[in-house]
């Protein structure tokens, strides 16, 4: 699943990012699930980026000042 550059294959990256952004079609989600079944690294990539996305979303909770 690794590319020559040591990163994830572009297609897997597209599918993972699309999945966490809710942008994948049903077909693309199925393709990703299939990749995950065949390669555990794909599943780890999805978990990692999903966790990153949750972490980023959590940063938006700094309370505004009362005088706003």
């Amino acid at each position: 699943m690794n590319s020559a550059q040591g990163g994830l294959e572009p297609r897997l990256m597209d599918l993972v990012q699309g999945e966490i952004d809710g942008a994948n079609t049903a077909l693309e989600s199925a393709e990703l699930r299939d990749l995950i079944v065949r390669d555990p690294q794909a599943g780890r990539a999805l978990e990692e980026f999903a966790a990153l996305a949750r972490g980023l979303g959590g940063l938006a909770d700094v309370p505004p000042p009362a005088e706003l």
């Binding site: 990163g7 952004d21 990153l52 980023l56 979303g57 938006a60 700094v62 706003l68």
Partner: protein, 179 residues
């Protein structure tokens, strides 16, 4: 059932004070957080957020309820934030007080290691990359909505977002923090 934004916006425009307050309450935290990550200063973020809501309430008549209210207010917030930073630039250097737990103890109260590292990493991204992260993860906008607000092609939005996440992921890995 919670009243949707479009309904609140219509009621607010028609003079319903409670609807205006509900809109403000619903969106103030996200708008403040957007401004904070663009301006990197809490006082400026407060001023920006105040300006945003002044404009929102003054311009509700131009809001088209066929589109998501969040996308409409995000556009205003982004423009206001960027204009504020641009206007500040000649007079003073960019204030980097945010994030700083040293000078602002409790600013990120309860923050764990992941949060601290992720916050710092986000602020190291150049503005182009930071903006897509903010719009996606703080405002929960779609690629199409982000492309419209930033006036760039959708594929550029995706590319920037993917690259930004890769950079953040690498920073976390370098610092031994797991997302």
């Amino acid at each position: 059932m919670e009243t949707d934004d479009a309904e609140l916006a219509r009621a607010c425009r028609d003079g319903d004070q409670k609807a205006c307050e509900a809109l403000f309450e619903r969106h103030q935290r996200r708008i403040y957080n957007v401004a904070l990550r663009v301006a990197r200063n809490r006082e400026d973020a407060r001023d920006i957020a105040q300006n945003v809501f002044t404009k929102v309430f003054a311009n509700l008549g131009s809001y088209d309820p066929r589109f998501k209210f969040t996308a409409w207010i995000a556009r205003i917030a982004l423009n206001e934030s960027l204009n504020f930073v641009e206007a500040r630039r000649p007079q003073e250097p960019v204030d980097e007080r945010w994030p700083s737990t040293e000078r602002d103890p409790g600013a990120v109260a309860g923050a764990g290691e992941l949060r601290r590292v992720l916050e710092a990493a986000l602020m190291t991204l150049s503005m182009d990359y930071r903006l897509v992260v903010i719009l996606r993860h703080f405002m929960e906008l779609t690629y199409t909505e982000m492309a419209s607000i930033l006036d760039i092609p959708e594929k550029t939005v995706k590319s920037r977002l993917f690259t930004a996440r890769q950079m953040l992921r690498e920073t976390l890995t370098r610092q031994g923090v797991q997302a």
